[in-house]
Symmetry: C2
Subunit: 243 residues, 2 copies
């Protein structure tokens, strides 16, 4: 009876998010269906965290326990044989007996892509806000997010989470003529956190809010002060790191 760790890549466009739901197409649901076909048993997987409908992943991590004894490459290729084109196993590894995909994650890295112009090829993986924006002020405003903060202002209050405290370890920006890539690494992310941060930063970029006002929003711990939630299509879970 072994514990297996899988790294998954998926295109969130046609998924109703991560978690199994009756009569919805979800990533967890597709993986568990493929595991049932491969292993002949019902297996429940544990993800590093949920992703919302439309959010993509390059490196989501899951673990599960199985009686099945197969070479690790067969877990990857065997499951990929059953999985649809929009979710695949990139890597299969053996995990230590105590491994827990969610609890043991030291940090997660997400990327959000804002397009500077209308785009057809790759439109599924970026969002075009149909406005001009200045990235310099957005980059400057985002600096205050680094470190440990209460991110209540930038979270959808869904009743479940009791604390919105997280530590943002790193933020990087990569800007080209075509697009702006915002990459953020933190210990925890809460519901819609990155999408609300980007929505508020875009208001700064358009001159609707000042850098000082952005800083005040973080301190206010009040969701109503922040900007709108930008669409899921620009967001991708890049990797999950374990200590």
């Amino acid at each position: 009876m072994g514990l297996i760790k899988l790294t998954l890549e998926y295109d969130g466009t046609h998924f109703s998010g991560w978690q199994v739901q009756p009569s919805e197409r979800t990533v967890q649901g597709e993986i568990e269906k493929a595991l049932k076909l491969l292993a002949g048993e019902d297996i429940r997987i544990m993800g590093s965290g949920r992703t919302d409908a439309g959010v993509h992943a390059l490196g989501q991590v899951v673990s599960f326990r199985t009686h099945l004894s197969l070479p690790l490459s067969a877990f990857r290729d065997g499951l990929n044989g059953y999985l649809p084109e929009d979710v695949k196993v990139i890597q299969a590894e053996e995990a230590g007996e105590s491994f827990h995909a969610r609890r043991d994650a030291a940090s997660r890295t997400y990327r959000y892509i804002i397009c500077r112009k209308l785009k057809v090829l790759g439109r599924q993986y970026g969002w075009y806000p149909r406005c001009n924006f200045i990235t310099d002020s957005m980059i400057k405003a985002a600096e205050c997010l680094i470190g440990e903060h209460d991110f209540t202002s930038f979270c959808k209050i869904s009743g479940e989470a009791k604390s919105f405290v997280s530590r943002i370890l790193d933020i990087t920006w990569d800007t080209t003529d075509e697009e702006v890539r915002f990459e953020v690494t933190a210990t925890h992310f809460f519901h819609n956190m990155i999408r609300i941060i980007i929505g508020t930063l875009l208001e700064v970029g358009q001159g609707k809010k000042s850098i000082d006002e952005f800083r005040d929003i973080l301190k206010a711990k009040d969701r109503s002060k922040a900007g709108p939630t930008v669409p899921a299509r620009g967001l991708v879970l890049v990797r999950v790191s374990y200590a």
Copy 2:
């Protein structure tokens, strides 16, 4: 009565190719439908050339004649309001009275993307052959294609074309750990020409054919000597150049 030139970007994944066909979703069909809604008249467009089902474009060029007098930006934005997400007008310009999108094209540039590994995000825009290949020998073999040649060996004989002579002006390769980008500029391209060239080059890359054998295939003017036609999804019409 003016002549308008449009530059189009489209994702070929869900199109049955370029040309209008009854009860099929085609790029030409979608553009003409949007023009009818915008201009209130039936307008026939002329493309620089057809693209097959599944082939994408970043810079397809079309022209049409209309009684409608609108600012050029309104042709772009107005049509985009009617067009679906997978085909958009990038630019609208006025064309000279004698302009002909197909006859006046001096050259076309296409790109084919071969992926080095299984890929989910962006899988629509590249093809993964599920084998290893050496690009050095492919690059060397492709050199013989430069210049004016009879490309019969690399074309699908469809009865229509009488000559398969074209001049390849340039070939460039851009290789990364993730993918190989093959870009080719020529005066003319015939049916499946790039997809058969890539299929044959991949046989060279796998050591199934030598560089000398590749050169002999070009000289043979015999389709049966060449390799298979690779899938359309990796192919994109990058631009059409006019003198």
